[in-house]
């Protein structure tokens, strides 16, 4: 009687042992406190890690961890010395003094020549870098990009190995901010010429000067970062390894991985936030920096070029209602201006120094505007208005809400034109819309990154808005470094945008997310790689 029982026991123990081996083989935890290692997931495969050409958030995230520019951001997102330990700047030029202990991952020093070579390569039209325009404040950059001058004529020079001189095309108040941007990072000539088109295509085509090295990359599947021992500030980097074994754009999968304690953080969407709330997870939020708005087509042949129509729509729309009742996801904020609430002004935040005029909902006034429109156009019935939108669930929800809103309050017929990404862009460029659900993510911390959008010669001005007063203020902001004058100019532009109903601001995009309590001080960033683990550390919490 006892024998088979003990046999069964043995089998059980053996099975359990197998199970444990099985389990250990395929898993690792979100945090390894001993080895100071963390595990995260990415939403997509980095499309292009060559930072001379990179344009997307996933690539910027990796680049932020493996590279460093002249200046960097600290954990409060203030500018601090990076490869340059000090600098001098005036309206005509700037000098950067590079630290002598900054090294590439192969031990070679990072020199001023590396910056000269990198910047000349970016503006070279043959490189076809989409972000080349961000070097525009540097002398001759725009003409080189247009193919009118040679890359060697760019206003940048290495005075010696560790001194970099930059001459400006026009005064640039925010140039120091720009030097933190990936497109401004250095490139070592000898290494680049060996790889050219393959530069940063695979781990063996890469060389780094930042806090980490990318030492494994299985395309589409996984990446692995280890601390760069040659980084000048390596002693202050606390986390030794960042492992990225999962790439998925499905928020539910990422959330499940987080619950299963395999990754340290996850963003939440409308579905997963409910589960997070049920499980009493501590939810954090972060303003991503982008602003969303209704952009009108101002081309003469479109009905949306009529100010009465735009005013009517402006007076029935409420950003609060859209954000709190329709979108209903915490993190997003109602927007009243093209300039979001996080932008710095002269001394305080811009929106505090220059608050935007709020337009209250007034349906009667809106209906009067509509009557004026009909009279002006001599029409009894208005034609259907085309609302161009993307195909995301959020965009669809918003479009349907607006369709119902404009129908109920003004009796307007709205035709929703839902398009996939590239087709929506094509229609925006060709002006095939009356209203489009648009948004803009900033490139640097200055209101001009938004204000320039409605400059009449800006190619991103899809509605072809043209207003000489507006252009005048853009020029003023562009050619001055006195922040008082500049902020006044932005404030004037803000008034025009509202009075002339160039756009109807909707919301500032934010995210809500949860994070493993064992990791501290992860920096969220509007610019550059987000999130950043440069200043993060690990601390085991007591359960």
């Amino acid at each position: 009687m006892s024998k088979p029982f003990s046999g069964l026991r043995k089998a059980q123990v053996y099975l359990l042992f197998l199970l444990c081996c099985w389990c250990n083989a395929a898993f690792s935890d979100a945090i390894d406190f001993e080895q100071k290692k963390i595990q995260i997931a990415l939403g997509a495969e980095p499309p292009d890690l060559n930072y001379l050409r990179a344009t997307d958030q996933v690539s910027f995230f990796i680049i932020e961890h493996v590279m460093e520019g002249l200046l960097a951001y600290d954990e409060q997102n203030h500018l601090i010395p990076g490869i340059a330990e000090r600098w001098e700047m005036d309206e005509q030029d700037a000098r950067f003094y590079l630290r002598k202990n900054a090294r590439w991952s192969d031990g070679e020093p990072v020199t001023a020549h590396d910056f000269v070579f990198a910047w000349q390569t970016v503006v070279n039209p043959r490189t076809a870098s989409r972000y080349a325009f961000i070097l525009a404040p540097i002398k001759n950059a725009e003409r080189i990009i247009e193919g009118k001058l040679k890359p060697e004529q760019l206003g940048v020079k290495a005075l010696d190995d560790f001194t970099l001189e930059v001459r400006f095309e026009r005064p640039c108040a925010y140039f120091l901010n720009l030097t933190t941007f990936a497109t401004y990072y250095p490139v070592r000539k000898d290494f680049y010429l060996k790889n050219t088109e393959r530069y940063f295509a695979d781990v063996n085509n890469m060389i780094f000067n930042g806090p980490y090295v990318l030492d494994e990359w299985t395309h589409g599947a996984s990446l692995h970062l280890s601390k760069n021992k040659n980084f000048w500030n390596a002693d202050n980097i606390q986390i030794n390894e960042i492992n990225i074994p999962y790439i998925s754009s499905d928020p539910t999968v990422i959330f499940n991985l987080f619950r299963n304690e395999e990754i340290i953080s996850t963003g939440l969407d409308a579905d997963t936030i409910k589960m997070a709330l049920q499980e009493r997870m501590q939810i954090k939020k972060f303003n991503l920096g982008a602003v969303f708005y209704l952009e009108f087509n101002h081309r003469e042949e479109r009905i949306s070029s009529n100010i009465h129509l735009r005013k009517a729509l402006q007076q029935v729309f409420s950003a609060e209602e859209l954000v709190y009742k329709v979108i209903g996801l915490p993190g997003n904020k109602p927007a009243y201006s093209l300039f979001p609430s996080w932008l710095d002004g002269e001394k305080e935040k811009f929106f505090k120094e220059h608050p935007a005029k709020k337009i209250p909902v007034n349906i009667q006034a809106a209906q009067k505007e509509l009557a004026l429109l009909k009279k002006e156009l001599n029409l009894k019935e208005l034609p259907a208005i085309v609302l161009l939108t993307g195909d995301s669930p959020l965009a669809s929800k918003e479009a349907e809400y607006l369709q119902a809103l404009f129908k109920e309050t003004l009796g307007l017929e709205i035709r929703i034109d839902k398009q996939i990404f590239k087709q929506r862009l094509a229609k925006m460029s060709s002006g095939d819309f009356d209203i489009v659900l648009a948004g803009w993510g900033p490139d640097y911390n200055d209101p001009s990154t938004f204000a320039d959008l409605f400059y009449s010669r800006n190619e991103n001005n899809h509605g072809r808005y043209h207003n000489e007063t507006y252009d005048h203020w853009v020029q003023i902001a562009m050619n001055n470094t006195d922040q008082k004058i500049r902020m006044h100019a932005f404030s004037e532009m803000q008034n025009i945008l509202i009075d002339d109903v160039v756009i109807i601001p909707q919301f500032e995009r934010g995210v809500v997310y949860v994070e493993n309590p064992g990791i501290k001080n992860v920096t969220r960033r509007i610019f550059g790689g987000d999130p950043s683990f440069r200043y993060a550390w690990l601390e085991a919490t007591e359960d």
Binding site: P125, I145, E197, A221, P245, V253, N256, A426
Partner: protein
């Protein structure tokens, strides 16, 4: 037989050419430009980008260049994965989809035969009813529902017992493959179960079974020797297209389990209007499907001599 194979190969080539040409022109007629991005680029940079991808040439020239390169097996550089050639993408990710698919087919095949035989054996009794009910559910519910439910259940189990039994997503070990391949194969498994059951029942009263019974063979010998072998034949017919469909159609399951298969690239390519990747994956999948159908046609002749005769 040789002429038959040669003929089928030629038909296959023609089909692939037709797929490629139709896709090429349809793709270029879709509004939108693969080089458009949220942020506009200057004219000079745009010209250089167009030159890099050959978009500066007239369409007929682009088509001729595409055909020449296709004949060489080169599909160019992807528009979205800017440093990777389309060939590299297919080479890296198709084996993943294929491994997942073949395991799924294995589960479906073994499970289908087993459950089909069980259902047939217990005809019109409760195991049969139960299995058929399950089959109906599995065929009607799409695989992504099972995938999501399974993942959720697994996480909850892991949390409840504080043990990690199976990975809930990712790729790299045999454990990672089990759940997704099983779920990917479920639909086919259900279909094969039903097919196997009806096929077994159909031959129940065939003369050769009666003969076997009359010879006094044991029940199990009759089953394995005579009934099973004959009943499996229709399964082989559907297996060819099923292999092609499963090894290429795992997009949703791949996405839910964060598996680096080719499906994701195929779907994303269309969304992003990635010309080279669209052409590469379409031609590749097209040729693969044509090849599978061809193989089944040829295999058929070997499996069932009656077909070869006709």
């Amino acid at each position: 037989m040789k002429i038959f194979i040669l003929k089928r190969c030629l038909y296959g080539l023609f089909t692939v050419w037709f797929i490629a040409t139709a896709t090429f022109f349809a793709m270029h007629n879709v509004p939108g430009n693969p080089l458009n991005d949220e942020k506009a680029t200057s004219a000079e940079i745009r010209k250089n980008l167009e030159a890099r991808y050959g978009l500066d040439k007239p369409l007929y020239q682009q088509y001729l260049i595409f055909l020449t390169n296709m004949a060489k097996g080169d599909f160019g550089i992807s528009f979205t994965q800017k440093n990777r050639s389309v060939n590299d993408i297919i080479k890296a990710h198709f084996p993943v989809s294929a491994a997942l698919g073949f395991l799924a087919i294995f589960f479906a095949g073994v499970g289908g035969v087993l459950f089909g035989a069980l259902a047939a054996h217990y005809k019109n009794r409760w195991p049969d009813y139960l299995l058929i009910a399950l089959v109906v559910i599995t065929i009607s519910v799409p695989s992504f529902v099972f995938a999501a439910l399974f993942q959720l259940a697994l996480v909850n189990l892991n949390l409840y017992f504080d043990i990690k039994l199976l990975p809930i997503a990712g790729w790299g070990s045999v454990q990672h493959m089990l759940a997704p391949s099983l779920i990917l194969g479920l639909g086919t498994l259900a279909y094969l179960t039903r097919l196997m059951r009806s096929s077994l029942l159909e031959i129940e009263n065939a003369p050769y079974i009666k003969t076997a019974k009359a010879k006094g063979l044991s029940e199990s010998r009759i089953f394995f020797r005579h009934r099973l072998r004959n009943a499996v034949l229709p399964l082989v017919t559907v297996l060819g297209p099923a292999i092609a469909a499963i090894t290429t159609g795992g997009f949703v399951v791949e996405s839910i389990f964060a598996i680096p298969g080719l499906g994701k690239y195929f779907v994303e390519a269309v969304h992003q209007l990635d010309y080279t990747l669209i052409m590469g994956t379409t031609v590749f999948y097209g040729s693969y499907l044509v090849l599978m159908v061809l193989l089944v046609d040829i295999l058929y002749g070997f499996v069932d001599p009656r077909i070869r005769m006709s």
